[in-house]
Subunit: 204 residues, 2 copies
């Protein structure tokens, strides 16, 4: 069986669980601690030199890091990757946007504000306004697109939607007000209404 | 003809020029200023709400942002994307690694140290050690891979190599010492030795 090396509260890891469940792909979970450095040990970095989760372990012992690459690998040949070349490029556009312009602000604000001990936040407190400015800019870019489109690529839910759902649906944890983004809010409901959807907290 | 909306010194834009030249795809260049906000005007953000270059303009007026998505779009069906599913996933792994763990430190250090007026750097000077620590970590991850592989995905130069070449080859501009990474240095020579290679400065 495939094994997902993960932290359960990580949106990047949730993306993989969400896709796997919607596709009916059995996947075992191997958990790592949030603050214990367990993904920076020599044993772990021998598998992924970048020392991060998620990392997918295949049955034959090969390892694949990076949520976007894992989503692509699991979704190839399924309804979650458009068959049209232009739509595939649009899908990747939004997946790179998510990792470069969205996650570093929205996920990072959530991690520090919701999961780090309060006394450690002090050293990062001066960054909170920048996280909020840039995170809101990313939500604004999504809102502009979703005012005239139901999905991010083509006319169906793709792995771009899964990738953007990961941290957008819990952005309030980082101090973002999703009520300011009505088209984003309606899209969140659309994603959550897809067959096989599982909430982030659900384990198996 | 395709039009690349770009800044010539941007490594993200160079990636697209490098691939296009190696594939023999004619592409016109439309330049934007580095410090004049010309990608944040209403006219520009109507085309790319995220206000960034590169952006590819198709003959029919459609627009595609994000260097990784543009590379994919231009390379589909060519030797720059492996036909094997696992190798394609590895390629995307390295492209997401580049945008998340490499570019935000190596490209950003270069931009501030080599292209920003010195008096503006003062406000960012406290970040230089973090850029260098994390950028060197990314170069170390590349070094580990390249000690036992010639290329990042499969046995040929793919768009993962193009993506990583963009800012690695000029990392010295940001204060990185590439002599510390002999396998990376040999790989840089391999990429530069590919047929059709063009240096970053070359215009057409």
């Amino acid at each position: 069986m495939l094994v997902l090396h993960q932290m359960h509260i990580s949106g990047n890891c949730y993306k993989v669980r969400l896709l796997a469940r919607q596709l009916g792909i059995p996947i075992a979970l191997k958990d790592y601690g949030l603050h214990d450095g367990s993904t920076r040990t020599p044993e772990y970095t021998a598998k992924n030199p970048n020392g991060r989760v998620p990392m997918l372990e295949l049955e034959d012992g090969r390892f694949l890091p990076e949520s976007g690459a894992i989503l692509w690998y699991l979704a190839e040949g399924t309804r979650f990757i458009p068959t049209d070349k232009w739509e595939r490029a649009q899908m990747l556009n939004w997946m790179f946007f998510e990792q470069y312009s969205h996650e570093p602000y929205i996920a990072v604000a959530r991690f520090w504000l919701a999961y780090k001990p309060k006394d450690e936040l002090t050293a990062k407190a001066h960054l909170v306004p920048e996280w909020h400015t840039k995170g809101n800019a990313a939500l604004g870019v999504m809102e502009t697109h979703l005012k005239t489109h139901d999905w991010f690529a083509g006319n169906a839910c793709s792995i771009a939607d899964i990738a953007l759902y990961g941290y957008t649906h819990c952005a309030a944890d980082g101090g973002f007000d999703l009520a300011r983004y009505p088209a984003v809010s309606r899209w969140l409901d659309r994603v959550a209404g897809q067959p096989g959807h599982v909430p982030m907290a659900e384990r198996w």
